[in-house]
């Protein structure tokens, strides 16, 4: 007997040798019922059973004395595989191991596991197969449930509306990517490849460094609306995408970091839509301002025209000088207004030195006509004299939107707009900050609505408002890391709204 052959003779049939086998168990009927030894005589094709066969096949052993009797009780789809496995074991003189279904008299299906090996005289061909069969239906149900759950998880992973990738090892090799990930970075092969090879453009944009950091420290990394420039096509055309994502460390059962899980949402469409909305709102604000500015320009121009006419009606030199002086003063008003209009539309790219006083006065010039016609008195006082370095167009837009809101909130007489600036310091960081306060004694905002005022399209002005003013302020504040607080009362004697914008003196 070959050594391999000899090893098969005892192991499957003698459960005492199985690892961790408890001999006491063997005598318990329920265990015995699910575990039956057998011997198949190759010459006579008879089967001898060593246990409760009925518990396996639903038939008593006297009905299963021949191999063909047993084969007919096996599910037709599995019969071929079982016979083939047994014959192969005999021919190869090797162990066989197969799982199959038995059909009971009541039609129920039971999963069985049979293991066996050929046996025979010391010299020559084997004359029998000996082994055991056990009922594995409960295990099979568990396996099927595990498989089902695995399939569900795979489907969820594949179809998730978020992009996902599982990276392994310090080289960040793609182990799994889902459909959304492939959609985000189309036309590339991922599995088994390193991130740096598949997405080389990620390197120059800091993403690889972030992955390294997460892999090394085990601290997850989250980012919102992070720009990602995807190279596209042969000419490396750039496609800008904005992503919300997290790099989550993957840990082994022993707690070691084995890779990084990438999970995120492509926010490109939304970010682009928001940018367009901000642009259109800026245009609308310009249109609104235009009529106010026209008024502010046309009045002094009319005065200039009148005084020039008057200067031409007299020969009295002092009188002419007086008319020309007034005309010149009126022209200065027009010049100032033209300058303010230009800076209002100028886009900031780099922070410049300015002051809250300068910015507030500039915006007030543009709104002077609207404020006067609305009967609003303006109290504009500044206690900060140190310079402010900021993106001035951002601050100007915030002031403009707040003043427009204040005017709309004060439809009645005796409206008062208060503008103040003070120096403050951040409690936590100790950073020197400046605070701009814009307050009105208008209608105020109901407490229940205060939490929604920064939402897009939320308005209390009905059809007169588009609900974008404060939302844009919120976006600007968020982008710059500034702070804004709103307090408001819409009843009682001290009605009105106070908005405080706090920003660092230097960015």
């Amino acid at each position: 007997m070959s050594p391999a052959f000899a090893s098969f003779v005892t192991i499957p049939v003698d459960p005492v040798d199985l690892p961790c086998f408890d001999p006491g168990l063997f005598h318990q009927p329920e265990v015995l019922g699910r575990f039956v030894t057998w011997e198949w005589n190759l010459e006579t094709a008879e089967v001898r059973w060593g246990g409760n066969v009925k518990a396996l096949y639903g038939f008593p052993d006297i009905e299963l004395t021949r191999l063909t009797d047993v084969i007919t009780r096996i599910h037709p789809d599995d019969q071929r595989a079982v016979v083939d496995a047994m014959l192969k074991a005999v021919v190869d003189i090797a162990e066989f191991d197969c799982e199959f279904r038995a059909i009971w008299p009541d039609g129920s299906i039971h999963w069985l596991l049979a293991r066996g090996s050929p046996s025979g005289p010391e010299e020559g061909m084997p004359d029998r197969l000996i082994g055991f069969t056990s009922d594995i239906t409960p295990h099979k149900a568990i396996d099927e449930e595990i498989l089902r759950q695995r399939n569900v998880l795979e489907e969820v992973f594949r179809q998730a509306p978020a992009f996902m990738a599982v990276l392994g090892g310090p080289e960040h090799v793609f182990e799994l990517v889902n459909d959304e990930y492939r959609r985000m970075i189309p036309g590339r092969e991922f599995i088994g490849e390193r991130v740096i090879d598949v997405v080389p453009e990620a390197e120059g944009q800091g993403f690889l460094e972030l992955l390294e950091g997460v892999y090394r420290t085990g601290v997850p990394h989250v980012e919102y609306s992070r720009r990602f420039d995807l190279s596209w096509g042969q000419d490396d055309r750039i496609e800008v995408r904005y992503l919300d994502y997290v790099y989550q460390p993957r840990r082994d059962p022993d707690g070691c970091i084995s890779g990084v899980i990438v999970l995120g949402v492509d926010r490109t469409e939304r970010v682009c839509a928001e940018q367009k909305l901000i642009e259109s709102e800026k245009l609308a604000a310009v249109g609104l301002l235009a009529s106010s500015i026209a008024h502010e320009i046309n009045n002094p121009l009319a005065a200039v025209s009148n005084y020039l006419y008057l200067a031409g009606t007299t020969d009295d030199l002092p009188e002419i000088h007086e008319y020309l002086a007034i005309a010149s003063r009126e022209l200065e008003r027009v010049t100032e207004l033209a300058n303010q209009t230009l800076v209002f539309q100028k886009r900031s790219v780099t922070p410049v030195e300015t002051s809250l006083k300068t910015l507030a006065e500039g915006v007030l010039t543009l709104y002077a006509g609207q404020l006067r016609n609305a009967g609003v008195s303006v109290d504009n006082r500044h206690r900060v004299h140190s310079p402010l370095i900021c993106l001035e167009a951002d601050v100007r837009q915030i002031i403009g939107n707040l003043i427009a809101n204040a005017i709309a909130a004060m439809p009645n007489e005796r409206g008062c707009l208060l503008i103040r600036s003070t120096a403050v310091s951040d409690h936590l960081s100790g950073t020197l900050c400046q605070r701009l306060t814009i307050a009105d004694n208008g209608t105020g905002i109901a407490e229940a609505l205060l939490s929604r005022i920064f939402d897009p399209f939320f308005t209390t002005k009905g059809s007169a408002g588009n609900g974008l003013g404060l939302w844009i302020i919120g976006e600007i504040v968020k982008r710059n890391g500034w702070k804004i607080q709103v307090r408001s009362r819409n009843s009682g004697s001290r009605r009105g709204t106070i908005v405080c914008l706090t920003l660092p003196s230097t960015p």
Partner: protein, 151 residues
């Protein structure tokens, strides 16, 4: 008027812009009008209550309650023959007024040329003088040519 025909015409100039109000006032004084000035609607209504005017030149939007159309309505109910000219620095005048009593005889967008304003005033006053006193002044006012002077 410079032609020296008839009695001196009374004119009310209403504008919240000091420099505009006083310059128009001076120019019309030189044209031998008897000029009254008002800085807002309230003041204008006081002047109209005190005397009837032949000509009213008023701004459209001013601080305080009411606007130029309120002034025109008051001036016309005091003197149906009044020539009412509205001055506006805004590109548009907003919704057209339905009340004919508020309808100006002409609209002058700011800034305007003084000679063309004076010519307009003269034409409008001459039209009044050549027509008999209307029985239904409000209707006549509504049917009057609606002139917009170009800048």
């Amino acid at each position: 008027m410079s032609k020296g025909e008839g009695p001196v015409k009374k004119v009310l100039v209403v504008d919240d812009e000091d420099s505009l109000r006083s310059s128009i006032g001076k120019i019309l004084s030189l044209q031998r009008f008897e000029v009254s000035l008002a800085a807002d609607v309230e003041e204008a209504l006081e002047r109209i209550a005190a005397e009837a005017f032949d000509l009213v030149l008023t701004d459209l939007r001013m601080p305080g309650p009411g606007d130029g159309l309120t002034v025109i309505q008051a001036a016309r109910s005091r003197n149906p023959e009044v020539v009412a000219i509205l001055m506006s620095a805004y590109a548009s005048l907003g919704p057209p007024t339905v009340d004919p009593g508020m309808r100006p005889d002409a609209i002058v967008p700011k800034p305007f040329s003084i000679p063309s304003l004076l010519k307009l005033i003269r034409t409008q006053l001459d039209m009044r003088r050549s027509e008999p006193t209307p029985l239904l002044p409000v209707h006549k006012a509504a049917a009057a040519p609606f002139v917009v002077v170009q800048r």
